[in-house]
Every structure is written in C-alpha cells, then in structure tokens.
C-alpha cells in the first residue's frame, strides 16, 4: 500500500455504496427492494459525511451532525415509505412498482 488510508478511500467506498443503491433502485421491481436501494444511497452519504468530519477538522462536528440527521431522516423515510407500500399492497395485492403507473402521462 503506497499511502495510508486517507479521505479518498472512504469516498470511493461511499461512491460504491451510492452507485449500488442507485442500481438497486433502477433494477428492483419489488418496492421494498427499491427502499433498500435508497438506504444504500443514504449510507453512502453517511460514510462521506463522517469521512469529511474525520479528515477535515473544520467539519469535525458538522459532518457527524449531518450524518445523524441523515440517519434520522432515513428512519422517517423508511417509515413513511413502508406505510405507503403497505397501503399499496392493501389496494393492489402486490408490491411491484411497475403496477404503480396510474399517474403516468
């Protein structure tokens, strides 16, 4: 290893998580799968925030605070998304996002 573990390592990992999440959202037809993709994306962001917090002293607090907020927001988002999914399931007996196309143009 030529250099010590630095910021870029973490950012690359964050990018992997982010891209995995995006691809997950794009390929899953199960609504909950899509939700998992979203969680991955958010985790990528968390990793980035905390990495910045660690490596940039100016962000020591901000990065962690924003990471916390991301986590809480993710919880809120998951709750509401699952409620919507359950509602959708109650009405359509499926969680296939492709059937939820009633609002298309």
């Amino acid at each position: 290893m030529p250099e010590a573990i630095g910021l870029n390592h973490y950012l690359l990992l964050g990018a992997i998580l982010f891209v995995c999440g995006a691809v997950c959202m794009a390929t899953k037809r199960n609504a909950i799968g899509v939700l998992m993709g979203v969680e991955l994306v958010l985790n990528g962001a968390t990793v980035n925030f905390v990495a910045f917090a660690h490596f940039n002293p100016a962000f020591a607090v901000e990065g962690q605070v924003f990471a916390l907020f991301v986590i809480v927001m993710a919880a809120a988002e998951a709750a509401i998304a699952l409620a919507i999914v359950l509602n959708f399931y109650n009405n359509h007996l499926t969680v296939d996002v492709d059937t939820a196309e009633e609002l298309k143009g």
């Binding site: 794009a26 390929t27 037809r29 996002v97 939820a100 196309e101 298309k104 143009g105």
Partner: protein
C-alpha cells in the same frame, strides 16, 4: 362578580336586568318554537313542537315575566332600604366633614367617598377613539346612579308593574285559548279568529319593564335615549297588540310617528350636548354648566349653582369672558374641578377661557345653543309625555289592552318625560323653564276640558292623564321640582288604579267601554267601584288622599310664582280652575258607571265582578292611592292626614332636588328668614348676588318663599274649586237636578268643539297630512314619467351595444384563447410520452442527469482553471 356589599347599587342593576332576562328567555323559546313549528309534518321538530304544547299558547312566559318583575321589586325594595341607611350615614359624615375636627375630616372625606361609590358605577359601552380635544367625547357609557329620585321611581315602577302583571294574568285570560275571536274585526266568515297571544303580551311587558327601569337607572343622557326609544317601541307593539283592528294599528302608528317628532328634538339636544360637553353623564354635564356651590375652602360662591353668562373678548390665549347676567355666552366650568377659589367667579368679574379647554380650563358656549339644547330635550319630553301640542296620540293609544294603558300610558312611560325634565333641570335656562310651564298649563286645561265630554271610559282617563302630566310639567316649570315629581309618584298609583278599575269594568261588562251604556254597576262589582272611588277621591284632591298632598304643592308653587311674576298669573289660574274640572269629570265618570239606574240592561245583566287575581292588585293600589303620601312614621306629625306638608315621600324627594332649583327660584322660607336676620350674609342660593340688606332681598324673586307662605291659602282655594266641581258633578249626574243634554243643547258650539277634541286631529290632517300626500303624489308622477323613461331608453341602448360587443368577443378573443390552448395541449401530449410511470426509468434518468451534470461541471472547472 356581584359584590353587593361594596356596591349595593348593583341591586338596582339586577332589578333592571331581571325583566331583560325574562324577555330574552321568552324570545329564545318563541324563536325555537317558531322554528319547530315550520318543520315538516311528522319530523322530530314537529313532534317536539306538539310535545311542548302545540298551538296552544303557553302560560309559563306570563309566570316568568311576573316572577322577574316581582323579584325586581324585592331587589329594589332591599336596595332602597339600604340606600336610606347609607344616606343617613352620608349626611352625618358630611356634617362631620364640614364642621368636625381637622383630623376627623380626612377620615370623613374618605368614608364619604367610599359610601358614595356604593351607588355609582359605569362602564364604557362604545369607545369612540382617543382625541386630545376634551370637548370630544371618548366613550358612550352604560352606568347607574342611585339617588332618592331614582330609588323611589324604581320602587314605584316595579311595584306598579308587578301589580299590573298580576292583573294581566286575569285580564288577558282569553288569550290563553287556542282560538280567540276578535269581535271588532270582521273577516269574510264572521268574526276574525286567531291564535291566543298570551305569551307575546308578557314578552312585550318584560321588555318594557327592562327599558323603563333602565331609563330610571341611567346616569347619562344617551342611555336614557336608548331606553327612551325602547319604551317607545314597546308602546308601539302593545298599542298595536290587536293589530288586526285597523283602529289599533293606526293608533300604534300615530303614537310612533308623533313620538318621532319629539325625538327629533331630543336628538338635536343630544347633539348640542355632545358637541359642547363631550359627555352625556348627568353629573358631569351639570358641573360644567352650573357653578359649584362652594369652593375648595368650603366658602359658598356668590353665583352658587348658577348658569354664568357673559361677554367674550380677546382671542387665543388672551380670551376672557366678562360676566354679565345678559351676556350672549355661557361660561363652561372645567371638566376636572381641581382647586377652586370663590374669587374666580364673582359677579362682574372675568375669567380666562379657551376654545378648546383642557381638563382644568374654562370654556364657553353660546347661550342660545344652551337654550336650544334645553328646548330640544324638552321637545322629546313633550312627545313622550303627551303634552300640547303632541298630546294627540295618547287618547288613541287606549286601543291597547287596558293593563298596558295602566302601566305604560298612565303610570310609567308617559311619566318618563316628566322624570327627564326633572333630571335635566340644571340644563334648563329660565326661558326653557317658562316654555315648560306654559306647555304644562295649556295641556292641563285643554285635556281637562276634553275629558269632560268623552263617553268612552278609557278616553276620559286618557285625557285625565294628559291633564295630570300637564300639572307635573307646570310644576317643574315654575320651580316646583319636588312638587312635580311628587305628583308623578302619587299619580302613578291612583291613575294605574283607575285604569285597572276601568279594565275590571270593561272585563266585567264584556268589552263595553261606553259610559252611557253603563250605570248602576255598584251592586254588581263592589270592590271595583269602591277602589275606583278611592282613586277618584285621590285625583280630585280630597284632603287626606295622596293626590291632595301633591296637587296642593303644585298649586301653591304656581301661586308663589304668579305672585312674583304677575304677568304669568295664567299659570296659577289654569291649574286652579282645572282642579275643579278634574273633580267634575272624574266624578262624572264614576257616577255614570256605578251610580244611578242601569241604562243598558244587556250590559247590566251580564256584568260581573272580576276574579281575585284582578281585584287583588286593585285593593293594593287603592291602599297606596290613599296613603302613599302620608307622613311616616305617623307620629312624626301631629296631623298626619291633614297637614299637607308632612308627607314623608315629599321629604325624601327633597334630598334629590338639584341645587339649581334653589338657585333659579329664590330662597325657601327658612333661608329667607335667616337672610332677613342677617345670618346668611352673601352666602346663599340666590340671584343675583346682593348684600345682606333685607330691602334688596325683597326686590328679588322669591317664588319659593311665597309658595310656602301661600301654601295653606292655595290649598284652601283649590279645595273650594274642587267642592264646586263636586257639586256640579253630583247635580248633573246623580241627583239629575240639571240635565247634561240640556247643557249641551244650550252651548252647541262649545260642546261640538270639545267633542271634536278642539279639532286637533283635523288641524293636523289639514296642515301636515294632506300637504304631505299632495307632495308625494307629485313625486310619484315625476318618478313614473321622467325617471322611468330615462332608464328604459338607456337600457335599450345598452342591449344594442352589448350585442355588438358579444360578437367581437366570441370571434376574436375566444379564437386567440383557443389557439393557445390547442398549442399547449399538443406540446403536453408530446411530453407525456416521457412519463412512463416506471420508477426504474426515472432513476436511470436521474443518474444519467447526474453524470451529465458532473461531466459538464468538470469541463467548466477545467476550463476556468
């Protein structure tokens, strides 16, 4: 909330609000019932309506209203006793504050302030915004101020009203039926039938009681005015209670319209007062117009309680008023009396004034405006109290149910005019007082002459009422403030009794009101006859009955006035003569109704005594008619029944008499004698101020002195006249020594003149009604011919223009709008295809967009370095 201990005056407020509560409750119940009644057949609303009695008139409103006014009587009686007790303390404290040791004075002053606050209170009702100019009023207030006058009035009103409520329970009994046949209204199938209106009657009575009590309670002119209009509307509603009868609805309209004329004057008076004083509160008004009695050091002013006139000179800050008894301007005293020196206001002196006075500065106003304000307020009283020339509505108002006549058109509402004149006495200048006196004098004579020839029992009483009100006005105008209001109180009892008695007669005779069809009813209705006899004796002024006390004082006062002003001797002669007339027509009425042989056997045979609920109030009122003016306690005077000066009620009223009365009408006997003996040097109520010399004093007006001096003489004179009237009445209508018909035949002109009530109605019709009809006919023609023509043509033109415009609108503007819509629709349709509804494609687009943005951004960043 109601802390009676620290504000016992609230008892009177409660007494006032009780009838209002009853009114509101009944009104709400009626509103609900009306709403339920109109609900569809079979619905819950309809069932509720049927369950609550259906179409049968409900009776509880009557009991509620009676209970409310009864309770109000209890409240006011309690308050009155409390008030007398407090007043005794106030008097002793005042004495101490004036003459006690210095250390006690402070304490006495504080105690005094506290006690006085017991009986005064007010809240802002309508705030009008802030202004620097103190002449502009800041708020209309609701308040109460209890003095002897209002407390006694409260007692009188609540007592009479309670009795009349009870009487009505019997008198209005037929309204309790589901269907009432009105014999005086003829429909297509015989008599008109309608539902009974038992509750409605008491609804109106409650509202009236509230309004009347509020009027008495009020501590400011505006509140009086509001109550004034409320009692007016109650009078209107109750006169028109049988509104199916055209005579009743016409009479209601007549009363209402006639009163509007008076109220116009009242409003003018209010405007002047508001403009120049910025307040309606009686106490504040009086303290601005009249000089204070004594200054801050306890020294009496030379111009005590006077209206100070003078000439204004100078401009701006140097403006002065030089005192002159004939000057065109009136000095207005500061709104807030701070420190005040007797030397500031001395005859012939001067005082700085301001056009826009601050709290502690003097102001001024034109004298003629003060006169106008007084005349305006008095015009309102003329309308309400049915004085000449606005007396024409009261006899017609007898179309209402008899208890209403008793309560409103005899005992209370019509007396409100007299009450207000008494209240506003300090505002009235000498000219206004003279006008009042003459108005009263003319009224009392005119009405008495008409009463002599009336055949309808209630009309006789109505004109009698007008005449007695004239007596009161006259008394106030000639300085008999106590006399006028005293007569108001005694009159209330015996006139209510007379009306209720006539109601009992009418009830007993099945709605027969013509005196000539009655006769010999005494054996059939002994209680009614005897109680009415008491009232007749009282109103005639037979010694020992209440009317004697009050009427004697009035005649004596008039005599005193006439003796000082010989040019106004008419003001003495008219009441003296009318005393005889009164006796004559009252006995005529009684004798025609109860004595002699029955003239109409149909009426006689069906006549019967009224039930106990009606005769009970009669008896109570009879007791009061006889004894209300007696001395109290009996042993306070050696001859309580014969000495007309020993009346307890009169003494109580003396406490409420404003200082202005003394200032305007000289000294009373005791003061005069003190002045003669040199014990009252320069400090007394008198005008204009003079030295202590007796000769100077003698030259001055001494109405009150002479009134007291002549009281026995006047009483004896009046008694003589009364006996003459009595003799005539018995001669004509009992012993039949003279035939009334013969007398009529002998003087046909006078008889016709009197029977037509001095042609007042005809005169008004010719002078006002016909011209008004003519003018409105013209107006109608102008309206239909000119204005309608113009409007029709302009409408046609508008239609034609609009047609053209519409065509342009449809083609050009709509076309443009449609074009835009089509284009937008097409574009939207094309873009629609991009919205697939698939989440995944959206995500892909998003990611692609992110990639694109990154690429572009990095290009720019690299390009810029």
């Amino acid at each position: 909330m109601l802390d009676f201990a620290s504000k016992p005056g609230l008892l009177f407020v409660v007494a006032t609000l009780l009838p209002l509560a009853s009114f509101v409750l009944i009104l709400v119940a009626f509103a609900i019932r009306t709403a339920l009644r109109s609900s569809p057949e079979g619905s819950i609303g309809q069932q509720l309506y049927q369950a609550s009695g259906g179409d049968v008139p409900s009776r509880w409103p009557a009991w509620l209203a009676t209970a409310a006014i009864g309770l109000a009587f209890v409240c006011s009686a309690t308050g009155f006793v409390w008030f007398l007790d407090d007043h005794k303390q106030i008097e002793s404290l005042e004495e101490e504050a004036r003459h006690g040791k210095a250390s006690d004075r402070e304490l006495a002053h504080e105690k005094l302030k506290e006690l006085e606050a017991h009986w005064v209170g007010s809240i802002d009702w309508v705030r009008l915004g802030a202004s620097d100019d103190p002449r502009q009023g800041l708020a209309l207030q609701l308040g109460f101020r209890i003095d002897h006058l209002s407390a006694i009035m409260f007692l009188m009103v609540t007592l009479v009203a309670t009795l009349i409520h009870l009487f009505s329970l019997g008198y209005m009994a037929e309204e309790k039926q589901l269907h009432v046949e009105d014999h005086q209204v003829h429909g297509e199938e015989g008599h008109y039938r309608r539902r009974g209106r038992f509750g409605r009657f008491f609804l109106f009575l409650s509202l009236f009681c509230f309004s009347m009590l509020n009027l008495v309670l009020a501590d400011n002119l505006f509140q009086v005015f509001v109550s004034w209009e409320l009692v007016g509307i109650c009078s209107y509603l109750l006169i028109g209670f049988y509104f199916e009868r055209s005579s009743a609805s016409n009479a209601a309209n007549k009363a209402f319209i006639t009163n509007r004329i008076g109220d116009a004057g009242f409003v003018i008076g209010l405007m002047i007062v508001w403009t120049y004083f910025g307040t309606f509160n009686f106490q504040e008004l009086f303290s601005r117009v009249r000089a204070p009695v004594q200054d801050s050091h306890g020294e009496k002013l030379d111009l005590a309680a006077q209206i100070v006139r003078g000439n204004v000179t100078g401009e701006g800050k140097g403006k002065k008023i030089i005192f002159d008894p004939q000057g065109p301007e009136v000095l207005l005293f500061p709104r807030q009396r701070g420190h005040f020196h007797a030397e500031w206001i001395t005859p012939g002196g001067d005082q700085d004034v301001r056009d826009d006075p601050k709290e502690r500065q003097f102001g001024h106003m034109p004298y003629w405006l003060l006169v106008a304000a007084g005349l305006g307020i008095f015009l309102g009283c003329v309308g309400k109290s049915a004085q000449f020339p606005l007396h024409v509505w009261l006899p017609d108002a007898m179309e209402g149910p008899t208890p209403v006549s008793a309560l409103i058109h005899a005992a209370t509402m019509v007396a409100a005019g007299v009450y207000l004149v008494g209240r506003c006495f300090p505002l009235f200048t000498a000219e206004v007082l003279l006008v009042i006196a003459y108005t009263g004098g003319i009224t009392l004579f005119v009405a008495a002459t008409i009463a002599v020839v009336m055949r309808d029992i209630k009309r006789v009483l109505a004109y009698s009422t007008v005449s007695q009100l004239g007596y009161m006005m006259l008394a106030l105008g000639v300085g008999g403030w106590v006399a006028g209001l005293f007569h108001l109180l005694t009159h209330a009892f015996f006139k209510a009794l007379l009306f209720l008695g006539s109601g009992a007669v009418i009830y007993g005779c099945h709605h027969e009101q013509d005196l000539l069809k009655m006769g010999g009813l005494y054996p059939k209705m002994k209680i009614t006859a005897l109680t009415m006899l008491m009232a007749v004796l009282a109103i005639s002024g037979i010694p020992g009955f209440s009317g004697w006390y009050s009427k004697d004082v009035i005649v004596a006062q008039a005599m005193g006035f006439a003796s000082v002003h010989p040019e106004h001797v008419l003001l003495f002669l008219l009441p003296l003569v009318t005393a005889g007339l009164t006796t004559f027509y009252m006995f005529r009425m009684w004798l025609l109704a109860f004595a002699g042989e029955p003239r109409d056997h149909h009426v006689y045979e069906h006549a019967h005594e009224a039930p106990g609920i009606m005769t009970g109030p009669l008896v109570v009122l009879a007791v009061f008619s006889v004894g209300v003016a007696w001395g109290w306690p009996f042993f306070s005077s050696a001859f309580p029944f014969i000495d007309s000066e020993s009346s307890w009620l009169e003494h109580q009223l003396h406490h409420a008499q404003p200082d202005a009365v003394q200032a305007s009408f000289g000294l009373n006997k005791a003061e005069w004698e003190a002045a003669r003996d040199g014990r009252l040097s320069g400090q007394y109520f008198g005008k204009p101020p003079i030295g202590p010399e007796l000769a100077e004093l003698e030259k001055q007006k001494k109405e009150r002195y002479w009134a007291e001096e002549y009281s026995h003489l006047a009483g004896n004179l009046a008694l003589g006249v009364v006996i003459i009237g009595l003799v005539f009445a018995f001669a004509l209508y009992y012993y039949r020594v003279l035939d009334p018909a013969e007398g009529e035949a002998q003087f046909p002109g006078i008889a016709r003149f009197l029977t037509h009530k001095w042609y007042f109605d005809e005169l008004y019709s010719a002078l006002i009604v016909q011209p008004a009809l003519l003018v409105s006919d013209w107006c109608k023609n102008i309206d239909t011919r000119c204005i309608d023509w113009l409007i029709d043509n302009s409408a046609a033109i508008t239609v034609r223009v609009a047609e053209k415009d519409g065509r342009f609108d449809n083609r050009v503007i709509d076309g443009m709008v449609n074009l835009f819509a089509t284009v937008a629709y097409g574009v939207g349709n094309w873009f629609r295809r991009w919205q697939t509804g698939y989440l995944r494609s959206y995500v892909l687009f998003l990611v692609l967009a992110a990639v694109g943005i990154f690429v572009i951004l990095s290009y720019f960043i690299n390009a810029t370095g």
